[in-house]
Every structure is written in structure tokens, then in C-alpha cells.
């Protein structure tokens, strides 16, 4: 009993620390990559290749003055960045980072918790994330914040349906919600990857997830050319950074879930499972950055039309085709 609690706590600490480091270094990764795409160098002064830049940034932000705007609702204003930051971290709990290993005769699963509602748990946390934006927009009592919060929540809920529907085809084949189980079904051979059975679902899922995490080309809520900074206009220093890092946390979580659902998670030959897992996650992060460096921002009406009139019907068609193929 005590030993299993100890193992649980150790696992949580390792995953949590790793995740925080990944968040910090995704900011560096993105700035460097976007810089290369734009024929610049990006941050390269602090430490070798700019590797200490995230730490320097963190210290800079910690020494900024924190304040609450006078017309804001103080409690909700403080609560909003926390709500934006915490759910993507909690979602990591159901993503397996490696195969079951044996330490001193005990079988240890390399994931924090094997909930049997895995994917639904991730989606439920995603739906809580909307509150961070709504609360930030409303509590700031600033016009730009309110418009940004409103837009982003409408965008997020529109794409949540696509996100939820896109995995249904996969669930029909996998017959389980548990992400650990889905990964196990895909291990063994590359051909077992659900990407090959559900390619359309993968693209729909990834596009929706990108819209959910408010990334370019879907970053309408913070469209700086029209809304200043959207829902986090009024936030200073580290409090703004919580939203910013929350977005990166969301990106990493989405990459982990995508890799696990469609690309076999930790499974792969020769290299240890965790290395495969990280390679896949970084690959998806790279796609995120690549898309950001390549595509311009949507207009809001295009965004909503795309979500409802393209993604939504396509997900239904995907379910129908999957259903027909499985029966016939």
C-alpha cells in the first residue's frame, strides 16, 4: 500500500517536472523554429544556442509588477489564468509515456492513471478550459478582453464538437476509451497505427485540436491586429504568462494525445518506448510551429463556417463510412 503510494507520487513528480520543462522549452523551440522559417536566428544569446532563454524569461516575468485593473472583478480575474493553465496539465494523467516496466518484481505502468474513460476525461478537461477565457474576458471589464473572450469561447465550443466527433470512428474500432489500451492495440507493427485505419479522423482531430488550443491559424481570440491581445489584454507579467504557457501546455497535451491515439504512442522498434514517445510528440509540436510559420490567420466568419460547414459534416461522414466498412 505504502509502496504503491510512493510509486504513484514518484511517477507524478517525474511526469509533472518533465511536463513543466517541456512547456518552458517549447517556447524556446517555437521561437527558434519560427525564426528559422523567417530566415532569422531567434534567441541565441542566453546560454548555448539560447537554451537558457526560457529561464531568463521566467525570472524577468517574476520580477514584473503584478496588479489588478481597478474595474476588474478581483477574484475571477485571478482565477481565470489558473483555470486556463491547470486542465491541460491534468489531461496528461491518462497518456501513457511507456510500456509497463518491472522494477524490483513489481509491474509499474508508465502512466499516472489508467482511467477507463480516458479520452472523455481529456475532453471534459478541455471543456473546462473554455472557462479560463470566458472569465478572463468578462472579469477584466475591458472591451477588447470581452470581445476576445467571447470570440474564443464561441470558437472553442464550435470546434469541440468536431473534436469529439472525430475520434468516434477510432473508438468504434478500438472499443475502449482508455488511451493506454488504445496504444497497446497499436503496438507491434507500424501498420497497426490507427492513422492508417482512420486517416481522415486524424486530420480532423488535429485541425480541431489546433483550433481548441487557439493557435495560428485559429488564434482569433488574441488577434493582435484587431483585438490588442484579446482576453488577456489586461493581464500583467507572470499572470499573462500563465495564459501563454497554458497555450503551450495545451499544445503539448494535444501532441501527446494525438501521438497516442493515431501513431502508436510509445510503440516503436529498437529505441526505448519513452524515446519513441518523445520523438512523436516533438514531431507534432514541430507541425504546430510549422503551421504557425506558414499560414495566415483566418477571418472569424471563415473560421466559424469552416468549423460548422466543413469539419462537422466530414466527421459525420467519417463515422458513417467507418460504420459501413465495419459491417460489410
Amino acid at each position: 500500500m505504502l509502496l504503491s503510494i510512493f510509486i504513484d507520487v514518484v511517477k507524478v513528480i517525474v511526469v509533472f517536472a518533465g511536463f513543466m520543462i517541456m512547456i518552458a522549452y517549447t517556447t524556446w523551440f517555437e521561437r527558434r523554429m519560427v525564426a528559422f522559417i523567417q530566415s532569422r536566428l531567434g534567441p541565441n544569446r542566453v546560454g548555448p544556442a539560447g537554451l537558457l532563454q526560457p529561464i531568463a524569461d521566467a525570472f524577468k516575468l517574476l520580477f514584473k509588477e503584478p496588479f489588478l485593473p481597478e474595474k476588474s472583478n478581483k477574484v475571477l480575474f485571478s482565477l481565470a489564468p489558473m483555470i486556463a493553465f491547470i486542465p491541460p496539465i491534468l489531461a496528461v494523467a491518462v497518456v501513457p509515456i511507456g510500456d509497463t516496466i518491472t522494477i524490483a518484481g513489481r509491474k509499474v505502468e508508465l502512466l499516472i492513471s489508467d482511467l477507463n474513460i480516458g479520452i472523455l476525461y481529456v475532453f471534459a478537461l478541455g471543456s473546462i478550459g473554455v472557462y479560463g477565457l470566458v472569465l478572463a474576458g468578462w472579469s477584466s471589464n475591458s472591451k477588447y478582453s470581452l470581445l476576445g473572450g467571447l470570440r474564443s469561447s464561441a470558437q472553442m465550443i464550435s470546434y469541440e464538437i468536431g473534436l469529439g466527433l472525430s475520434v468516434v470512428g477510432l473508438l468504434m474500432i478500438a472499443q475502449t476509451f482508455s488511451i493506454a489500451e488504445i496504444v497497446r492495440q497499436q503496438s507491434g507493427s507500424v501498420l497497426n497505427w490507427y492513422f492508417f485505419k482512420q486517416p481522415v479522423a486524424f486530420f480532423l482531430f488535429f485541425i480541431c485540436a489546433m483550433a481548441e488550443s487557439n493557435r495560428l491559424p485559429f488564434d482569433l481570440p488574441e488577434a493582435e491586429s484587431e483585438l490588442v491581445a484579446g482576453y488577456h489584454t489586461e493581464y500583467p507579467g507572470m499572470r499573462f504568462a500563465l495564459f501563454f504557457l497554458g497555450e503551450y501546455a495545451h499544445m503539448i497535451t494535444v501532441s501527446m494525445v494525438t501521438a497516442s491515439l493515431f501513431f502508436g504512442g510509445w510503440s516503436g522498434p529498437f529505441l526505448p518506448p519513452i524515446v519513441w514517445f518523445l520523438i512523436k510528440v516533438v514531431a507534432f509540436l514541430f507541425i504546430y510551429v510549422w503551421v504557425r510559420g506558414t499560414l495566415p490567420r483566418f477571418r472569424y466568419d471563415q473560421l466559424m463556417r469552416f468549423g460548422w460547414l466543413v469539419i462537422f459534416p466530414l466527421t459525420l461522414v467519417n463515422i458513417l463510412v467507418t460504420g459501413l466498412v465495419m459491417v460489410l
Partner: protein
């Protein structure tokens, strides 16, 4: 242990439900409603109905309360005013509430609550799906009609621009 957690969740649910009806700022009421719904989801988890708990969060917290918040933001300056909690019908309301309270109390005490000694199925999501699509298939299909009516009704109400503007259909 689980009794303790249940009581904590129940107290949170009841207290925040009370806040929902007593707070004078509707926006804050809506947020306390979120807290109530969360504690109910917690109770579902405690009863090992994880699917129901996830759905509770997805639908009630993630969708219906967001809808309410939009409705609140839609209403002109409703959040900056404090709203009267009572109207002229306070006395009949109190009487009805008391009668209802007594009735439910009597029902609660009189009913014998049978406890099934069957064990839970290992993964009750499968069981929910199986029941939904075999025993309860008619209610299941009716749900879609109810949802359709709700959708159409909401759109008709919200698009009513008054009879003076007949040419509104093209917009």
C-alpha cells in the same frame, strides 16, 4: 472514507446551490452553478459511474452553463445591476415550498430504499450503451426529436424580429 468524501461533496453542492439562488449578481450565480455541477460529478465518480461524471462535466459544465453565461452577457447590463431576489408572490411561494418540503421529507422517510446486492459491471459504459440501444431504444430515438425541437424553438424565439419586418428571412 468514501462517506467522508460524499459529505464534503454534498455540502459543497448544497451550499453552492444556495449561493446560486441567493447571490444578487447573476454571473456569479452561474459560476456557483458550475461548482454545484462539479460536486455532483464528484458524487458520480464516488458511485463508480465515471462515464456519467465525464458526461456531466462535458454537457452541464462545458455546454449548458456556457450557454447560460452567453445568455447573461446577452442581456443588457444585467451583471452590473443587483437583482431583486423576491417579487410580490413571496407568500404563496413560501407556502408551496414548505408543502413541497414536507412532501419530499415524508416520501424520503416512508420509502424503503432497496439496495441491490448485484455487483457493478466492470466497465459500466458498455452496459449503458447496451441498455441504451436495446431496451431503451425508443426513448433514445425520441431524444433526438426533443433535441431537434429545442434547436428549432430556440432559433425561432431568438430570430423573432417582430411582424413589422417581413423581409428578414434573407439575413
Amino acid at each position: 472514507m468514501s462517506m467522508l468524501i460524499f459529505y464534503i461533496l454534498a455540502i459543497v453542492a448544497v451550499v453552492s446551490a444556495l449561493m446560486v439562488v441567493t447571490l444578487r449578481n447573476v454571473f456569479h450565480s452561474a459560476l456557483f452553478l458550475v461548482l454545484t455541477l462539479f460536486s455532483v460529478a464528484g458524487i458520480y465518480v464516488l458511485l463508480e459511474a465515471e462515464f456519467l461524471a465525464a458526461v456531466q462535466v462535458l454537457i452541464y459544465v462545458g455546454a449548458i452553463t456556457i450557454l447560460m453565461i452567453f445568455a447573461i452577457m446577452l442581456t443588457y447590463q444585467i451583471t452590473s445591476k443587483s437583482i431583486r431576489q423576491v417579487n410580490e408572490q413571496v407568500i404563496p411561494a413560501v407556502i408551496i415550498v414548505l408543502v413541497f418540503f414536507v412532501l419530499s421529507l415524508v416520501t424520503l422517510i416512508k420509502t424503503s430504499w432497496p439496495v441491490s446486492n448485484k455487483s457493478l459491471p466492470g466497465n459500466n459504459t458498455f452496459e449503458i450503451g447496451r441498455q441504451l440501444l436495446s431496451t431503451y431504444v425508443i426513448p433514445f430515438e425520441v431524444v433526438s426529436i426533443v433535441l431537434l425541437i429545442a434547436l428549432i424553438g430556440a432559433i425561432i424565439i431568438s430570430r423573432q424580429d417582430g411582424p413589422s419586418r417581413p423581409g428578414q428571412e434573407d439575413r
